[in-house]
């Protein structure tokens, strides 16, 4: 089955938006880290995601072939045009919240990128290979933090448990597939996220158990990111991020 260019572009932009929005949240930690070492480590991860976003946007621009650039996608679109999954845009919260989110996303991304490496689309496969290498390091780090916080002090344990409760309902969306992504999978280009769920659940459960954290119950779920139905937090990300481009349109920087 073949897919057309506009479908492919929409798919690539989804992956780009995911990476950009979480990079933004991670970058907010710069000069706010719990230690100087951790400040630098968070920036490292932010830089990796930023790099990933730029590769995906660059590829989307190439597919579009209409003069779009990585920056027009990042800076000229409004809230409803962004299609990142909601988990990435949630405010950074405390360090427990940031690491809880990061761990859940890292587990997902590593599995996702591993499969995307086999995409019939060579550009996506190449980006996925790079992302996969970085992802191994990201996951090792975030998993270690979950153990330390979960099995650290009573305070860190409680903060991490609370963070998990607050994030859990946003993980459902990671494993949703719509018609477009189904078509992309059938064309041998994308990844069927539904298939990733059992292993993800198993690995997350193992880590949380080791971290003495209770796996939250899956009795709530918020979705909508792929349709541009966001939390209210995204608009504020954009008003920060896009300020200069909006105030001085059409300039070089």
């Amino acid at each position: 089955m073949l897919i057309d260019k506009s479908q492919l572009k929409i798919f690539v932009l989804r992956l780009a938006d995911d990476a950009l929005v979480i990079a933004h949240r991670l970058s907010e930690w710069c000069s706010h880290g719990p230690s100087l070492e951790e400040d630098l480590a968070l920036t490292n991860v932010a830089l990796d995601y930023m790099g990933r976003a730029r590769m995906f946007y660059g590829y989307a621009a190439e597919i579009a072939g209409d003069g779009s650039t990585e920056d027009t996608y990042a800076y000229d679109r409004d809230c409803r045009d962004f299609t990142n999954l909601l988990i990435h845009e949630l405010p950074r919260g405390d360090f427990a919240f940031t690491m809880a989110r990061q761990y859940l996303v890292d587990e997902f991304n590593l599995a996702y990128m591993e499969l995307l490496q086999q995409s019939k689309d060579p550009t996506l496969a190449a980006i996925a290979t790079k992302a996969n290498k970085e992802g191994l390091y990201h996951l090792r780090r975030s998993r270690k933090w979950l153990l330390r916080l979960g099995d650290g002090t009573a305070e860190s344990h409680n903060r991490l448990q609370q963070a998990m409760e607050d994030i859990w309902g946003y993980t459902t969306e990671l494993f949703e597939m719509d018609e477009l992504e189904q078509a992309i999978v059938e064309a041998g280009i994308g990844v069927n996220a539904i298939h990733l769920h059992p292993q993800w659940k198993q690995r997350v459960t193992a880590t949380l158990t080791e971290a003495t954290i209770t796996v939250p119950s899956s009795d709530w779920a918020v979705t909508g990111g792929r349709k541009g139905i966001h939390t209210e937090a995204l608009g504020h990300i954009l008003s920060d991020m896009q300020f200069l481009q909006r105030a001085y349109p059409g300039q070089q920087w």
Binding site: C30, L47, F95, G152, E155
Partner: protein, 312 residues
Amino acid sequence: MSEEEILFQQRIDAELKVEPKDWMPEKYRQNLIRQISQHAHSEVIGMQPEGNWITRAPTLHRKSILLAKIQDEGGHGLYLYSAAETLGISREELVQALHSGAAKYASIFNYPALTWADMGAIGWLVDGAAIVNQISLQRTSYGPYARSMVRICKEESFHQRQGYHIMMVLMQGSQEQQAMAQDALDRFWWPSLMMFGPHDAESANSTQSMKWKIKRKSNDELRQKFIDQSVKQAEVIGLKIPDPALKWNKAREHYDFGKIDWDEFARVIKGDGPCNRQRLQHHIRTHNEGAWVRDAVAAYEAKHKKQPTRAA
């Protein structure tokens, strides 16, 4: 002078490096701790004005460069804290001294980063001034400090270039962008000159520091070098240095420049700069907010070290 002190000075005069285990006069040690820790704190506090622009950087490319640059500065802070620790003081003590006000950081960071052009001015001028100073410190007499300067200088020249490039692109842009760049230069020029410290005649710590070769060049020499290089760089991209007295002096082969407002310098150091309170409070707040994380790491490590390991 004691015999030890005489020998120490002889080694310094022979350009031999002092290493952590060597005997050194207590004042040499104290002087170095003061200077290295002030340098380390400056790197770390300096992350704030630039960090303030990460989420608002105008392109993804600029955003990545800025993030990497600030990360470098944090890394510089780390090397320098380690260099200070070789003198027998802990990082916790150094940070406490910053929080109590006993230790200083570069006063330039008490000025606000108001527009995007400030990212250009800071990289170009503030990192530029830092490099001029740090190049001379690559030959400082204390080994760990000298070696950390070698490492740091390599990264600083990239910082300076990216800042200058921001200014250059703005100067090639719209009138508003050009005005933004000029305004940033106007605000950061004089504070950058103050980064080199008081004139040699008024510099309290200088004479002994030069004798011990902690400092290798005087404040005024370094300042002059910085002015000479910056004037040309400004001209090339069409920026005007905000100093009507600036003039090439053929006889000296240097630029003459106007009077530095040392009252302002004193005012800002004393605490009346636009951002003194915010900078310090940001650091204290972040440090305190991170306490539970650091406690968690300590608790986790204690628990997992205790687990009995059975001998084979």
